[in-house]
Symmetry: C2
DNA sequence: TTGTAGGCGTTATCAG
DNA sequence: CTGATAACGCCTACAA
């Protein structure tokens, strides 16, 4: 079908070695032969076969990114960042949707190995032992995105979840709120659960506000429905509640939906601050005040780190990216 | 690093040909040798090198999917469907973010050619001549997702946009609305623009409702901001407006945001119906009534079609998938 | 039932 | 400066 290096060589009347040299601009040819070859390449519309190239170079310029849910706004921002960095370095990315399934994850790890991906980006889930072992076996670098491993020393890119939740809570306190509750997801979650809960509690305590455990309600996950169910419970558990910090934007929006149905007005009757700054935050009505994770940047920086590791830079360390509060319309000042 | 077929052959004391046969379960070996080989494979933890395999078979079990905006909820649903179908057929997908840029699109087409992707999924943009030519050159199948080409005969998977807009409008009419407006995006858009506009107009006319051109306002695009700007204009142009059909969920939510700021209550003062049924539709407050495109399914069916073409089935034709109205909370009955 | 050998499209190491 | 030629890991006639 398409022309090979051999065809080019024949057309330009040189050896394939010479063509190869010119292609990879290595030294060793006169400028006239170069021109001749270039012309032949043009004429034959030749494009190198990356497969053949990969076979010998042992590098495919391909990375795999594992995400638990491709279609969530969360993952898609990450993906966009990854894609962008990869593109600008000439890498392509294989999208691996693990769907929260361990066997699918293992499947993909195997697949990436067979296709000889140069590196792996692992996203927002905990890196189980089996995954880790498989990756070790593959002998390719990994970096963790928006997550972190307590068991293994692997580079990561994320925000400081505890500090971010702390900031969100402090923001509410500074706005004059005293009766503050939290809606959280799975309390065992090492990233989106625990650290944010601790941050919340610590902010309360650091500002002389007592904390009782009925100030937090937990959902099974961090989704809209979870938030929607959580708010009524929180309202039941605390009286005088004026503000809530949510462990995710989705939950925050769910809470707003519940508030709406309860006849509570946001922010007049209740203030809400989210977490993530997904697209939905600016589209909700009113627009959601939230603490932003720079997801795009996390993806981008992560991919860059990975590629650096692929290309030889060893010993790359984890990076904490800054979060920040985005003030929109769901928090009312009490002072 | 990892074991090759040669290692396995040596360990099992057979030739690589035999190992290969067993790997691709072709006939020609005794069950004992098979067992021996399998054991060796296990012991060495051998995994075939897909690169080497691809070099000879001319098939990579990889497809590329081009999307204009990875992180939009629209594309991500599509992607999820694609990924899922691909996974279940043993294919992997390279994510190509064209960012609405022609040169990036061409870049990716070239890249997919170099990496010898088996097929291409082209999403929600118009297939320009240059793209088409490049793809022809590559000699791989393409299918269009949520779009269609007027110039070339290429299989596609989408809904009937005109009918869908017609349905949405008729729904409003049946709910007793008479003063209905539309907020649309780019009126030149061959998919999301024109057909939906025509559908809107035709539904009006078929139900004896006069149409004036000031019943439609156009935005540059189909985004939140466009919808947010469009609604006030529409209000200015039409009086007595009771309902609006929006050309996208994003615009619908933007319109809701504008309504909120104007002190108009949805659906009490104004009914709104969206288009797409993205995640945001169920998360908006109140939840958005909308006409659903089965995006996941479009992606899934499209990938299946593509893979069938890759594997030999020729002459596949386009498919129109059904749309349906999802009733939620933004349309009020006037009767 | 099994093995030998050629080739897929490149890169890289030699000689010339 | 240039050209053979041996890999890379696998598949597949063709032989045995």
């Amino acid at each position: 079908m398409s022309a090979t290096i051999k065809d080019v060589a024949r057309a330009a009347n040189v050896s394939i070695a010479t063509v190869s040299r010119i292609l990879n601009n290595q030294p060793g040819y006169s400028s006239k032969t170069k021109e001749r070859v270039l012309k032949a390449i043009e004429a034959l519309d030749y494009q190198p076969n990356a497969i053949a190239r990969g076979l010998i170079s042992k590098r495919t310029k391909t990375i795999g990114v594992l995400v638990p849910d491709v279609s969530s706004m969360f993952s898609s921002s990450l993906l966009k960042g990854v894609e962008d960095a990869a593109y600008s370095k000439g890498y392509s990315v294989i999208m691996c949707h693990t769907a929260f399934s361990g066997i699918r994850t293992m499947d993909y790890l195997r697949l990436l190995n067979e296709k000889r991906a140069d590196g792996i980006l692992f996203t927002s889930e905990v890196l189980k032992e089996a995954y880790y072992n498989e990756i070790q076996r593959m002998g390719v670098p990994v970096v963790l995105l928006a997550t972190q491993s307590m068991s293994y020393s692997i580079p990561y890119v994320k925000v400081d979840d505890r500090m971010a939740a702390y900031s969100a809570t402090r923001y509410l306190i500074r706005k004059g709120h005293r009766k503050i509750g939290m809606i959280s997801g799975n309390k065992e979650d090492i990233i989106a659960g625990k650290p944010r809960i601790y941050g919340f509690i610590q902010a309360l305590e650091d500002h002389g506000l007592p904390f009782h455990k009925n100030q937090i309600v937990y959902g099974p996950g961090f989704y809209f429905e979870d938030g929607k169910k959580a708010l009524p419970e929180l309202l039941k558990q605390m009286n005088g509640l004026t503000a809530v910090v949510s462990a995710s934007d989705f939950m925050a929006v769910g809470a707003m939906s519940a508030a709406y149905e309860l006849g509570l007005r946001v922010p007049d009757d209740l203030s809400i601050i989210g977490y993530d700054n997904l697209d939905i935050a600016k589209m909700s009505v009113p627009a959601l005040t939230t603490v932003a994770q720079p997801l795009l940047k996390i993806g981008c920086v992560g991919a860059q780190m990975l590629i650096e590791m692929v290309e030889g830079r060893k010993e790359i360390e984890g990076r904490i990216l800054p979060h920040r509060i985005i003030e929109r319309g769901t928090v009312r000042s009490l002072s």
